[in-house]
């Protein structure tokens, strides 16, 4: 047991499914053609890409013409936000987003604010980390052109009221984008039901590789591309198509929804087991994950101690978890998400995220509870703050 890694950081990234690897393989060395090429190798590549697009469109309940491949979740978010803002700025220059978005959204909006003359407002969240719809409504202005609210939060797993926001946006004629990166494989991605105009996904959050994203974009919305070049992806994202990853992300998404109920049951059981185990064995906890959350995520702060020291101590036991989001691990700031929920700084500095996947086992969860208890007790001994 102690030799194997217990990987509980599946909101940071996931292991690629073996079936996905298998699917991609032949596109490296056998069907390696450029999909734009006018010979068999090219046609085969083109077909593979279009089949992938169709598979995805079925899961999102949209036309395959509305599915675009990108190089990452960050890129999808950037195209949606900057692209729409730049295209429709004549209609208005105000954008609404929330205070708990991923930096791909927050920093894009901030950039538009700083450098391109846009204004933006941040919707507050409640202590559960769920956006305040009334506050959102109050922020809408006549010149609001875009609302971007994430579907599920990466740190806490909190599910946001996308359908409702979508309805409000539609009534007001405001474009609505959702960063659904953390929802894939965990919640329905039916864009019709969700009332979204644009939706971003990232392959590596659901057992496809890192470096491939999807942007759903309703026909009729035309973001200005970030790249200019060839005619790929209807000019929205030129670059020779990454055929293996496009095939891979479609396969992974299909697996995720084909096996949805099974994974959900398994993972949710483990989450509840972890929750009960932690709450029974450790005190001085602050739960950061609300009831209405994705089934794989559980986030706690451990009073009196800081997150990084828990991380490194758990790593000594080969348990992988994270504090804040992986993307900000280079920074010293406390989690902006936990802060936005009104927690004190010291609590925000100490949040630990457990995010599970289909590959986790009961044995791993038991082992994690045991080691976590040891670790928290040990570090608390060093701390001036006793619980």
């Amino acid at each position: 047991m102690e030799k194997r890694i217990v990987y509980l950081d599946n909101n940071a990234t996931t292991r690629v499914d073996d079936r996905v690897v298998k699917k991609m393989e032949i596109y490296f060395t056998k069907f390696y053609g450029n999909p734009s090429s006018l010979y068999d190798l090219g046609f085969e590549a083109k077909n593979a890409v279009e089949d992938a697009r169709k598979k995805i469109s079925k899961i999102l309940n949209c036309s395959d013409q509305e599915i675009f491949f990108t190089g990452s979740g960050t890129e999808s978010d950037n195209i949606a936000i900057k692209g729409v803002a730049r295209r429709y700025q004549k209609k208005g220059k105000h954008i609404i987003t929330s205070s708990i978005e991923h930096h791909a959204v927050l920093n894009s909006v901030e950039y538009l604010g700083k450098k391109e003359g846009f204004e933006y407002s941040l919707v507050k969240v409640d202590s559960d980390g769920i956006v305040d719809i009334d506050h959102l409504k109050s922020l809408i202005r006549p010149d609001t052109i875009l609302i971007s609210i994430m579907y599920a939060n990466n740190e806490t797993g909190a599910i946001q009221p996308i359908e409702e926001i979508g309805k409000i946006a539609r009534e007001k004629g405001i474009y609505f984008h959702t960063d659904a990166v953390q929802a894939a494989g965990k919640l329905s991605l039916d864009v019709k039901k969700l009332n979204v105009d644009m939706l971003s996904l990232s392959g590596h959050k659901f057992h496809a590789p890192k470096g491939v994203g999807i942007l759903y974009k309703r026909t009729g919305i035309n973001p200005i591309p970030l790249f200019h070049g060839g005619h790929h992806e209807k000019n929205l994202r030129p670059s020779t198509e990454n055929v293996p990853y496009m095939v891979g992300i479609a396969e992974a998404l299909e697996i995720a929804y084909d096996e949805f109920e099974e994974h959900k049951k398994h993972i949710y059981k483990l989450k509840m087991m972890l929750k009960e185990g932690i709450e029974k064995n450790i005190d001085g906890l602050v739960l950061n994950t609300p009831k209405n959350s994705v089934f794989n995520t559980l986030n706690y702060s451990f009073k009196g101690i800081e997150g990084e020291s828990i991380l490194f101590s758990l790593n000594d036991f080969k348990i992988s978890v994270s504090t804040g989001s992986a993307c900000t691990s280079g920074s010293l700031e406390p989690s902006h998400v936990i802060m936005a929920m009104g927690r004190e700084d010291s609590i925000s500095h100490g949040s630990i995220r457990f995010s599970l996947s289909k590959y986790n086992t009961e044995e791993e969860i038991k082992y994690t509870i045991e080691k976590l208890k040891e670790v928290v007790e040990r570090i608390r001994k060093i701390s001036p703050y006793k619980v």
């Binding site: 009196g304 101690i305 800081e306 997150g307 990084e308 020291s309 490194f312 101590s313 000594d316 280079g330 920074s331 010293l332 406390p334 004190e344 700084d345 010291s346 500095h349 570090i379 001994k381 060093i382 701390s383 001036p384 703050y385």
Partner: protein, 128 residues
């Protein structure tokens, strides 16, 4: 990311815990910044004969605290005051740039504890 020495000190920190009736006591940093450090010293004949720390913070903060207590133990007050954050970093076999402030905190901790010791002594002397 961290040197072997940092990890050793983090895993088995030296001299941690509360000290009853210290001769000097320094509290630096704050939990808002993610690091807080308390240094306790016992001084006899101008020599730091015992030192303890309590730290809320990251791996680098805990390791810096630990090594700093090692560094000043047995040193005279004057020697201890000469210890800089660079010495802490060196002893640790380096720190990631982004974590340098933890070594600065440790230096500040010693200074604060010694300051406190000096103040107390002055008071005592005055009371004499």
């Amino acid at each position: 990311m961290y040197s072997k020495t940092v990890m050793e000190h983090f895993r088995n920190p030296h001299n941690y815990g509360k000290m009853e009736n210290p001769d000097g006591f320094g509290r630096v940093g704050n939990p808002q910044c993610g690091d807080e450090m308390i240094i306790y010293i016992k001084v006899k004949d101008n020599v730091i004969v015992d030192v303890k720390f309590e730290t809320f913070g990251c791996v680098a903060a805990i390791a810096s605290s630990s090594i700093t207590t090692d560094l000043i133990k047995g040193k005279t007050i004057e020697e201890a005051l000469k210890i800089t954050n660079k010495d802490v970093v060196n002893e640790l076999g380096g720190l990631p740039a982004i974590k340098t402030h933890c070594s600065v905190l440790a230096e500040d901790g010693i200074k604060a504890a010694i300051e406190d010791y000096k103040k107390k002594k002055l008071k005592e002397n005055n009371n004499d």
